[in-house]
């Protein structure tokens, strides 16, 4: 399909979005990521039944703790898409990148540079 999506996105492959750990997401922010999103399968289509639902709950947890630290919770999101939806993958990548650009650099990174 040769779809284009922003080059700033670093993909970390996991066997299932359910494998995503709160620490994986937090460590990304600690290391200076401006945003993190989890791309899981469509709800109801999880090969392991509830992996993507668990991932969403973990993403929501991270949102609450980031907010408590004064980091915009919008910097972490969960998206659902099937593996056959290449165009949607590229679209989400573009939209999330645009949203993060709007939010600006992570406050964690800004302070580090200062």
């Amino acid at each position: 399909m040769r779809l284009q999506y922003p080059t700033n996105i670093k993909i970390i492959q996991l066997p299932c979005s359910g494998r995503v750990d709160i620490l994986h997401i937090l460590k990304s922010f600690e290391d200076g990521a401006d945003g993190v999103y989890v791309a899981g399968c469509m709800e109801g289509d999880c090969h392991f039944l509830t992996g993507n639902l668990k991932a969403r709950r973990k993403v929501n947890y991270v949102k609450t703790v980031l907010a408590a630290l004064g980091v915009e919770p919008e910097r972490v999101e969960m998206f659902n898409m099937s593996s056959a939806e290449g165009p949607r993958f590229a679209q989400v990548a573009r939209e999330f990148t645009a949203k993060i650009k709007e939010l600006g650099p992570s406050p964690v990174k800004q302070a580090k540079a200062a």
Partner: protein, 222 residues
Amino acid sequence: MIVGDSKPLEEILEMIQGKEKVLVLGCRGCVTVCNVGGEKEVGILATLLRIARKKAGLAPSIEERTLERQCDPEYIEELAEVAEGYDAIISIACGVGPQFMSERFPKVPVYPGINTTFIGGALEHGVWGERCQSCGNCLVHNFGGLCPIARCSKSLMNGPCGGSANKKCEISPDVDCIWHLIVEKMDAMGRLKELERVWPVKNWITSRDGGPRKRVREDLKQ
């Protein structure tokens, strides 16, 4: 197990304000089992504190460690050489942890990172319920194995009270009336008649009312 709940991050951040080198200290006992103070939670809390520090432009010197237990001096001793190198230690064990740590290392300020809530068990993954109030005189066998001390809002020995409706306690529709369950259970066991026994006022001297408690086993003591 002893069940706890994480303290709000804001409270923990306030505790360690101005403390440069901080240790987040977990416990592999009860708090690991109830997912509030084990190695994993140490990692999460320490990472969050490091993010907060980086955000504030401060050096993120937050270290992580988890002891086998914080309620046994032999494990706390593992920190003997390093403890005093920290400006603050956040113990995410039950209330025993921060106290044992403070007693052993009197020069180091120790802060509790969790609130110890109750003695209970897992009702399902991620849900825990209170089962014991450590009253010091177990009587559950008289009540079909259900504790009216820990599980009745009023700790009634001769229940139910007038606040019991539709199997629930008047304090909340989420709280079972344990006396309703006791009666049902004793009936199902054919032991309903046993509930005719009138219990005198409970002697709370074995509970906290007798002051702080201590247990000594002479055969083990050295």
